[in-house]
């Protein structure tokens, strides 16, 4: 195939666009104090933040799978009035400023919130400013990515396979677990990875709803932001760690996004 001739104007604009993305990455790579990397990474607060981030983001993803997959199924397979509205509401956090999400969570699950006050009085159970609160904030922001990815997978799969399974005697649960879910496996995986990556980077909703207590609610992004004030080098190193994680996600999903079949 003959290479297409590129108009000069487009080439220049595209190059500036590319530089806009590449320069910050270069900055991070070049200015990071590699020598201090080990000390920064093994500092007690860092390890704590990293651990908390992993636990919270994996939990948020698990929550996403448990509740998001059924929601996606409902959106893909059922026709009911208000479905589109419900879908819009569950995917709203994708476009909502995360801080607003955090405040909304406080008003629902905070000590004096709609549900929170009842939880508090009935069970003495509080959610905000706890690790559970971190998980909730992350799930709130990240789960929509999983929902829309899985819904798209369910919609594009060939439903005749489900009919074939039924004709072979499979009941609903067997059809779902042995045929439907395996067939949308790539979408499930992509949705889960996207959800996890978004949860890992969550900042606004987390700090608003769960606060910033080291060891309890201080996740990596929060730690990075605070270290910027006290220990810039360490914050660079932690940023680099998060960057590497993101790169790993990209590599994991390359077939989906880069189309290299």
């Amino acid at each position: 195939m003959r290479a297409e001739r590129v108009p000069v104007g487009i080439a220049i604009l595209a190059a500036i666009g590319a530089a806009f993305f590449i320069l910050p990455l270069l900055g991070l790579l070049i200015r990071s104090p590699w020598g201090d990397a080990l000390t920064a990474l093994t500092a007690a607060e860092t390890v704590e933040a990293l651990k908390l981030s992993l636990v919270a983001s994996v939990s948020a993803t698990a929550l996403g799978l448990v509740f998001g997959v059924p929601l996606a199924w409902v959106f893909a397979r059922l026709e009911f009035p208000g479905r589109d509205l419900l879908r819009a509401l569950t995917t709203l956090p994708m476009v909502l400023p995360p801080v607003v999400g955090g405040i909304a969570l406080l008003l629902a699950f905070g000590r004096r919130g709609l549900v929170g006050s009842w939880l508090d009085s009935a069970f003495g159970f509080t959610l905000p400013f706890t690790t559970v609160g971190v998980v909730m904030a992350e799930a709130f922001v990240a789960m929509p990515f999983l929902i829309i990815t899985v819904e798209a997978g369910l919609r594009s799969m060939d439903r005749r396979y489900e009919e074939a399974a039924r004709a072979l005697g499979a009941r609903r649960w067997r059809v779902l677990t042995q045929v439907t879910l395996p067939l949308i496996g790539p979408s499930l995986f992509a949705g889960a990875v996207l959800c996890w990556a978004r949860a890992l980077g969550e900042f606004g909703a987390t700090i608003t709803f769960a606060g910033n207590f080291p060891g309890v609610t201080q996740t990596m992004p929060l730690a990075v932001y605070l270290l910027l004030e006290t220990n810039q080098e360490a914050s660079y190193i932690l940023s680099l760690v998060l960057l590497l994680v993101s790169l790993a996600v990209l590599v994991a999903l390359r077939h989906r996004w880069l189309g290299s079949a």
Binding site: Y161, A164, A167, G169, P182, L183
Partner: protein
């Protein structure tokens, strides 16, 4: 052992309304043009499309009866289905595909694998047990689909266009195999096809469907010998007319009256083989009782003979030699006379 199905339903532009009975020992093929409702009929029997009225009874067990509000879901019907493009599960191995139905119907994993392995042996694919279905050829996939449908021991086997997904070169061989497997299956067998050759090769009885209705049923010889629809007449390649018989003649719906020696009385079909129709430039004067003027509508070459469609008071297809076409100077729009003897008209009650 038998299947009785009375199906009435509407699906998009298709209005299906037909009854079908299947008996032990026969292989039945539903034949009809695309969109006639063959596949929908199959899906209705399998319980994959709800009936708006009617019922399905298999071996005396009511699977569906809209009057009594009975509906046995697909997964509980003892029916095996071979789908048109087989729909083998791409995420499972060939063995697990075949084992799926045994497992789903309550067999243990060990029993299911054992049974699946035996079936793969039977269809000659034991060596492919661990392969993914995508890696098999079309003919092999067809055999896996058949094994998968039969492994749970259904009472009724439904096959939707079982050979349509194959290319022409492998079709004949796969058809032979399929015929053998159909013969060894002890249950009821119903297949759907739009290919008359396939239907005749595989089935003992044909059920012709057009526009959601059963138009004719019988052995392949009966159906092709006495077509009862334009569709079958076209498949067989004969002229089919319909009219009122009156001792030696048939008055067609369009008004013309043709001489037909065999005609007695009542509503009848009349068939005239295109080879029996002669074409002339001038009005022939001779023994044929049926002589009509007409205009050539189309001229088509078909396996060494030329099929000439003549439009007129009686529109017919005549089959002549290429030499005759040249001699008569036939072309679209030519004026011709067609003639056929009254003894060449086959007549049977409509």
């Amino acid at each position: 052992m038998s299947l009785e199905a009375a199906v009435r339903l509407t699906l998009g532009s298709l209005a299906l309304d037909m009854e079908l009975r299947l008996d032990e020992g026969e292989v039945v093929a539903m034949l009809g043009p695309n969109g006639a409702g063959k596949t929908t009929m199959l899906r209705a029997i399998a319980g994959l499309v709800p009936l708006s009225a009617g019922g399905v009874t298999l071996d005396g067990r009511v699977l569906e009866d809209t009057g009594a509000g009975v509906y046995v879901p697909t997964e509980e019907r003892p029916i095996g289905v071979v789908f048109q493009d087989y729909l083998l599960f791409p995420h499972l191995s060939v063995l697990d595909n075949v084992a799926f139905g045994v497992r789903a119907r309550g067999g243990s994993a060990a029993v299911a694998r054992e049974k699946a392995a035996a079936w793969l042996e039977r269809v000659g694919l034991a060596a492919y047990a661990g392969s993914k279905p995508q890696t098999l050829s079309g003919g092999q996939r067809q055999r896996v689909a058949l094994a998968r449908a039969l492994a749970p021991d259904p009472r009724l086997l439904l096959l939707d266009e079982p050979l349509a997904a194959l290319d022409v070169t492998t079709r004949a061989e796969v058809r032979r195999d399929l015929k053998r497997h159909l013969a060894s299956f002890p249950g009821l067998r119903l297949l759907v096809t739009h290919d008359p050759l396939e239907a005749v090769a595989l089935a003992d009885r044909l059920v012709v469907i057009e526009h959601g209705r059963l138009v004719q049923t019988g052995t392949p010889a009966e159906v092709t010998g006495q077509p009862r629809s334009q569709y079958v007449a076209d498949l067989v390649g004969v002229n089919l007319l319909r009219g009122q018989a009156d001792h030696g003649s048939v008055r067609l719906a369009e008004g013309a009256v043709i001489a037909a020696a065999a005609a007695e009385s009542g509503e009848v079909f009349a068939v005239i083989h295109p080879r029996a129709v002669a074409l002339h430039r001038q009005r022939p004067d001779g023994s044929p009782r049926n002589v009509w003027p007409g205009r050539v509508g189309s001229v088509e070459l078909a396996s060494g003979r030329v099929r000439v469609r003549v439009e007129g008071p009686v529109s017919l297809v005549a089959e002549v030699t290429p030499g005759a076409v040249k001699e008569l100077g036939l072309d679209e729009g030519s004026q011709v006379w067609l003639a056929f003897k009254s003894t060449e008209v086959g007549v049977y009650p409509a």
